[in-house]
Symmetry: C2
Subunit: 211 residues, 2 copies
């Protein structure tokens, strides 16, 4: 229990640091390959002239995702965890100082792809967004409830593939509501940009409420 | 370190128990939704008249997967872990006794969907099979190397969706080889059964070598 206490104290200090600089922080979590980086790429493309975005990336190995973010023109810092299956508040604290947040409006944390462990670690974000893709099946929310309970918003990605899948969207949304009645839900495609607009509006609204 | 020592001792005892009954045990791991249960369903359908198959299922919540296995006519026992992001040898020990393995040839362990933590826990299996799907992207092996290093066989699922994706199969296979040159690789579809035959032959070959 002691580890979580220390982590929570650091998370509170991270949050305070974000708030001193007027930066809204969002923690993005999902299974590996659900589309976190793709959503960030699409978001940066659409908002970079309006909102100053930075990304703290977390992976066991490689800086692939940070490179993809930089290629879209946003600041990014890659944390490689080696063995750790999640980011914690201390890693994110390092990330904040290496990224430099003074000139930013929103910092996204792209957590390690894992639908279990990251939910247990407060990293100092103001909001948790959990993604799952249509290709993973409808039942993820009820099979991995700890993660979905921690979500403020659930984004269902890869809606462009629905025509080739047996995925039942209503069932998936019902499962989310069963586990977390308060969570908002947005279904979209990072590829065709279908309903991406709804996510962008959500971000702008949250940022407005925060400032 | 002590936890892993105790776990490893239990894993060795599990393996011995399997061997006393001539049962070959395979540990299936992947991200959530990569197709573990679907592969087991297809496998049971094809082999149930030749090979006596049992499945120990691991999930945080629900017995959905065990029910799917039972519906195909194979014995199954569901472990619900609550918070744990992986199965360990003690849980599998319980599973062995609850499933009853005396009348079986192969026991599959379907681990908790997680591409990090399960790789660290020997559960007493004779072989590790790691799945990832075409819809997750080619780079999973290099981004989650700990898991792929533990694999004897890597199964790439959902090949039926390739025509709708930008997935580069050769690149994905190269990434697997980069991380684990010894791993075998089979790409297949649980839906169209494309190349499922190769997996079935692989199982029969492994079982023959074991007996
Ligand atoms: N068809 C389709 N493919 C998508 C969509 N979003 C992401 N993808 C694909 O899904 C794969 C994984 O996407 P990423 O954005 O790398 O996923 P991620 O969640 O960042 O993955 P990790 O960081 O490894 O956990 C890639 O092949 C993407 O092209 C989508 O909306 N539609
Ligand atoms: N198109 C296609 N879909 C597949 C294939 N294999 C599995 N699926 C779909 O992928 C989704 C997840 O499949 P499951 O078999 O439940 O995946 P899993 O790995 O057992 O998932 P968890 O146990 O929750 O980790 C379901 O909607 C399946 O129908 C395949 O080869 N092709
Ligand atoms: Mg990513
Ligand atoms: Mg399953």
């Amino acid at each position: 229990q002691n580890i979580l206490d220390k982590n929570d104290k650091q998370a509170m200090s991270n949050r305070k640091h974000f708030e001193e600089h007027g930066v809204f922080c969002i923690n993005l979590m999902s299974s590996p390959g659900s589309g976190k980086t793709s959503l960030l790429e699409a978001t940066i493309e659409e908002l970079k002239d309006k909102i100053r975005i930075g990304v703290i990336e977390g992976d066991l190995e490689t800086n692939n995702d940070a490179m993809r973010i930089k290629a879209k023109g946003a600041k990014s810092y890659q944390i490689t965890t080696g063995q750790a299956c999640h980011l914690d508040a201390f890693m994110v604290h390092d990330g904040i100082h290496n990224l430099g947040i003074e000139d930013l409006d929103i910092v996204f944390i792209e957590n390690v792809g894992n639908l279990v462990c990251p939910a247990a670690y407060d990293v100092g974000a103001h909001m948790n967004v959990v993604l799952f893709s249509t290709t993973e099946g409808e039942d993820k929310p009820v099979k991995y409830p700890v993660m979905f309970k921690s979500a403020n918003l659930v984004v269902i990605t890869k809606t462009d593939l629905l025509q080739y899948l047996d995925f039942d969207m209503q069932k998936a949304k019902n499962y989310v509501k069963e586990v977390n009645p308060q969570a908002d839900i947005i279904a979209l495609s990072n590829k065709t940009k279908e309903n991406l607009e709804k996510w962008l509006r959500y971000l702008e609204f949250k940022l407005e409420m925060f400032k």
